[in-house]
Symmetry: D2
Subunit: 408 residues, 4 copies
């Protein structure tokens, strides 16, 4: 790889990415473009602009954007159509944000004539893979710089020394080491590392940042009604909302009721297991409600196929293959299944638990006429079941006959 | 089908199966053998013996058995190795009991020289399919009688009239119609029908029989430690227990904390959707804990394959194909994956929620040395990630290059 | 089911469906509408019109249509995009024709105000299922009449007697019993039954109707070039052709070279195994060529996913679920994968074998620069492979370490 | 990685691995142990011993073994139980040999106290991955040396110069460059590279080494009968044979009749596509025959599940994950399905084509009584089909009703 001339950096404005910014300038002597996105992580962005300017970035090279609506509409909601859960439990809050960031990095690179992108993910995690696979899939010629895999700033001490040498301001609380590492966006907050590294030990209370402890949640349940159209939520309690607004509202409901905490040991794509504490308050409610509306509007054959495809779909997103033809194939199948996933679900929120307690829809497939214990007026002829069972059993009977024969 | 001469009836001792018993005698003039099983449904069995005798069944034709250990050991636990959930949520409590009942019906038929078996499931549900597929798979020559599909006792009034004509005692509370229908065993209680038939309407509190309302559960969390060996739970809080004893204990923990309630609309094998209220207190804790112990002891490749196979496995059990070669193939694969699923999980129980908060094992695959944010002493070379990503990206880059080329 | 008033019959003009026609008139006293389709079975259709008129069908109730282009374009080609083979081998020639016939039956029923459809498939086979599932999926209120399951004309003698009583002309060669039963359309000819019922015995030569014996095929290979666009063949040897014209041409090539014979024992949806002799000359060439063009234009991830979905897709078509949401979901995924399956394949035809010997495309993903044994000018860095392997191996190494540890 | 002290080298005795042998000695100054295996590649092994001695290897460090029986019994036959084909066509002849070689390398390393293994695969191919994943899975501490990824002998000229400097004998025909690269074992011969690099161009005749041209094959078909037990072939024409003997015999039949040629472009695990010419004469016959015997002895449910799992199974073997828990899980499922795959298949061999023409078995599931077009004496009640179809259709009818309702 020849040396990069102009690099677009995924820049948070924090200490680590500021060090990277400076390191790119000094190591490669290249022009740096910064991209700072509001994905709903709950931090102000303007300080990032100030800091970038302070580090010598030209104003036209500073990109600060609110991408929350795009994030929820084009990434989070399509993923929730699949009821995606990695290893049965993880709602993929970090994984789903990475492709969007890469997409903007590549677009900004093309707009500014940059030949490289850079990110602050380490060489042990999944995020490097997600950033880079997305970047390469969108621009096969792009150079990718991952300073954590390259430099020799391998300890906190060396990092701080580099920062001081280079006049990078160090916030007081960054002098010491954080007791764990955090990633946040509108869908979730994940915490991992250090105090969380022993999976036998319960995560300390102070790790949780976005949800109250279920024990501290209200003693009275709250009920909300979520309306869906074609698989996506569109309103809460009758109030129509944009995607990001709706997810923000669900986060508030979930956070208040202590919903969406997950303590997980997961298998990383790079091969080791890691332990994470995830808080996905709104997403957890959304998954429950989405399954609820699917349960009355989606055909059994479609649902079972979708359930069967889900683990691979979730794995693709976890591993960073959002921009891959196979994810797009699965998405086409999933989206096809959501055409009639329209209706309303009533969810009970209480002390950490979101439970569907009712659902209704003009698109419902539920037929009380068929299922009723009462007289069904001929909707269903019970005698049909005899033939149904007889022919489903035929191969099993032929098998049993054969097995008895050869056992003799 | 020629007329049956001797029939083994799955007999609960209740009004409905007593009517069936009498109907078999009068309709077919055949000898009836009764089989009453203790699957943990929480009813005494001796009254069933008395009632059978009263209805003229010879003592040697009355079979009453406690099959709880076999049920949990050979059916429930193997199924939980798969983390099986039908349509993403249902723990298959009714489905998994049916094959055991059929197996004993067929064995008793062979022991007593009966040429038929009979059950009390209706023609609208899944249970008829489960009973009969299992029966045919185990004895391809057996006759199966499903009175509900055959007789003309199509209303409550007719049933009661038949009972009275035939001197079948009717308990006072059976005069009126039950507001819903119940099935119970050691794994779960299911309720459906009548007051539950409108899926938009929240299930009334009195439906729940086995779990307290989360609102009424203790205000203080309780922690338990569940030990596993090769995928099956073997001890709670250090105390070794037999399978049925252990599940009984988990049910008590779960019931006390309001854990394991599910309000579900599901797609029946016979084609319509139905709404059920399930209570699976111990099973819900077990699923959580099993996933917890798998998370540190099972390889990622094995787990992802298992997750991918699970929906089909669950569907097979739901549809009644326990005794089918494809279920056995999947079981072989699943069991192969459980060899090292040995260790202990700590679970927090609180107000309806069971949450893994810690897990440890001599068989752990978790390597703090690899995952640590600290210096890892060479366990992992971050530079390897560059090549890993490069080659994973290669096909995506070739694809992007092609797509750009042809777009021109 | 109340009695039908007006029935659309899938009518071939042959003896059996003529008997059905008459039986519908006499049994139900209903008006009969006939639908006779040219699916490429190689029979003239006008005699069917004459015969229908003779049997008293009103001219406006006689529908005779050439549906070959629709058949190939909307059914055969979409299916071949999936490389569908049932039980690894069968190209689904009969299965794929049934939904089209049902679709037209339903459309004609709606156009003529008929309340029922009827077909001539027996109660043992798959075709009844395919006809009826399609019909119900397209019109949930339709009545379906399957005379072979209803009437008492259970022997050849009774059928002929009925025909004679009802003045149905009987062709001389229909007096005796055919030595086997045949179904044909533009995609294939299938033969089964009677002389073919012992699967141990080689099918006699006279069974084959559409392909020469490989031994009698030309002694010199012939090469053809098939051009594809988005997964569908569009030209042979540079000559653009409509779908049906192209398949007809491929059938001629295949038939001449003895290509596409298959002697198969397959598992029917109704539960028993049956033996069929299939001739699919053009389809066999098409499958080979389609795989050939996919091999250079389709990404590995997409292809592997498609290969994995194929068996279920084929099973759905075989079982009659063409018009089901899950088939449509899979089709959406498959079609998504074909966007760049454009290019040309050179196929060698010789003595029963169709072999791809060359393929090229503007959409090719094959990169000689990367794969070459020669100097690759930096297209590929072999050192990347070390990291790639190291991280793919990591979980296996952690596993081996664990297994060694616990084995001690 | 610290420097290796003692290395077990997969040594063919050819020029390339001789250069590697010398390079290991000079580069690392380490002791070299050679392992030369007879996998049926058709070369004598004793010259390899001589050459190793000449290059200074101690006699006790020279391991020469005939592993043909193990290869076929423990690797080839288990794989054929799955009907494994990568990307629909490739019989995995190279892929399946690598894990066996790695297994012996690791065993010899443990026996001789070596701390490293080395192989002669390049950095562009799949074989490096297969060798190394297997090695790491069997010994997580082993060092792996892949000289082609490390050294600077990047051209033919440099290689020959190194050989000359180091007194490595160079056979005359190795002075020039081979027009393509070959790998062979008892299952197949693969050829790739150079003259084969343009996938549009037909492979020249001289590439084929193991099969006659179909045009040159006998003009008369030959028929053979292959007997199977539990999924594995055990006899040909009534003569019992050991695994390797049987595969050798099948290779002779296949080679003589021009059977088993494949010209394929495939997606490599490392990301690029490559073109290979494969000759798998015996394996091609075996696949056909195995499907033939399965067709009458294996239940439909089992077969369809197996077909569905196959692509992932094949991908795992292709990618080098033979020694992975997920391959073992799949193998457990597959092996479970083969219990009754016992019987005999008659195969016609003619001009490149192997076709099943008959099959019979005491374990047959085929029931002429059920399938017959003749009177079936009550084996099958056609009326059962009505209920079977009705209930299979129910969900589709509810769906159509819903879709019509909401379309209004």
């Amino acid at each position: 790889m020849s040396a990069p001339k102009k690099v677009v950096l995924a820049y948070s404005g924090g200490l680590d990415t500021s060090i990277i910014l400076k390191w790119l300038q000094t190591e490669y002597g290249c022009e740096v473009v910064t991209f700072t996105a509001d994905l709903g992580q709950g931090e102000e962005l303007e300080p990032a602009r100030k800091k970038a300017e302070l580090l010598g970035i030209k104003p036209e090279n500073i990109f600060i954007e609110d991408v929350r609506e795009e994030f929820v509409r084009d990434f989070v909601f399509p993923m929730f159509r699949a009821n995606a859960q990695y290893e049965g439990l993880y709602l993929l809050g970090t994984s789903i944000a990475r492709p969007l960031i890469s997409k903007r990095l590549i677009e900004i690179a093309e707009a500014t004539g940059a030949d490289a992108v850079a990110h602050g993910a380490t060489g042990k995690g999944n995020d490097q893979v997600r950033f880079e696979l997305s970047a390469y899939a969108l621009n096969p010629e792009i150079k990718v710089i991952a300073p954590w895999r390259e430099w020799d700033l391998t300890s906190r001490t060396k990092l701080l020394a580099f920062a001081e040498e280079n006049q990078i301001p160090i916030a007081k609380d960054k002098r010491g080491e954080a007791p764990f590492s955090v990633d946040a966006n509108l869908l979730h907050t994940s915490s991992e590392g250090k105090v969380l590294e022993d999976p036998a030990v319960q995560a300390p209370d102070y790790v949780y940042q976005r949800t109250v402890h279920p024990e501290d949640a209200p003693d009275t349940p709250e009920y909300i009604e979520i309306a869906f159209e074609k698989g996506d939520p569109v309103a809460i309690n009758g109030e129509a909302m944009s995607p990001a607004t709706l997810l923000t509202a669900l986060n508030e409901y979930g956070g208040k009721h202590g919903i969406g905490r997950l303590d997980l040991v997961e298998g990383r794509f790079v091969g080791m297991k890691s332990r994470g504490i995830y808080e996905t308050p709104g997403g957890t409610i959304l998954l429950e409600a989405h399954r609820g509306i699917e349960s009355i509007t989606m055909d059994r054959g479609a649902m079972h196929l979708k359930d069967q495809l889900m683990p691979q779909y979730a794995e693709l997103i976890y591993n960073g293959f959002w921009f891959s033809p196979e994810r797009e194939m699965l998405q086409a199948a999933i989206d096809r299944s959501q055409e009639h996933v329209t209706g309303t679900v009533r969810v009970k929120l209480y002390k950490g638990l979101a439970s569907t307690v009712g659902r209704w829809s003009d698109h419902s497939l539920y037929s009380e006429a068929h299922v009723t214990f009462e007289e069904d007026a001929g909707a269903y002829d019970q005698k049909d079941a005899a033939g149904f069972i007889k022919l489903n059993a035929l191969r099993l009977r032929l098998l049993a006959t054969r097995n008895r024969r050869v056992a003799k």
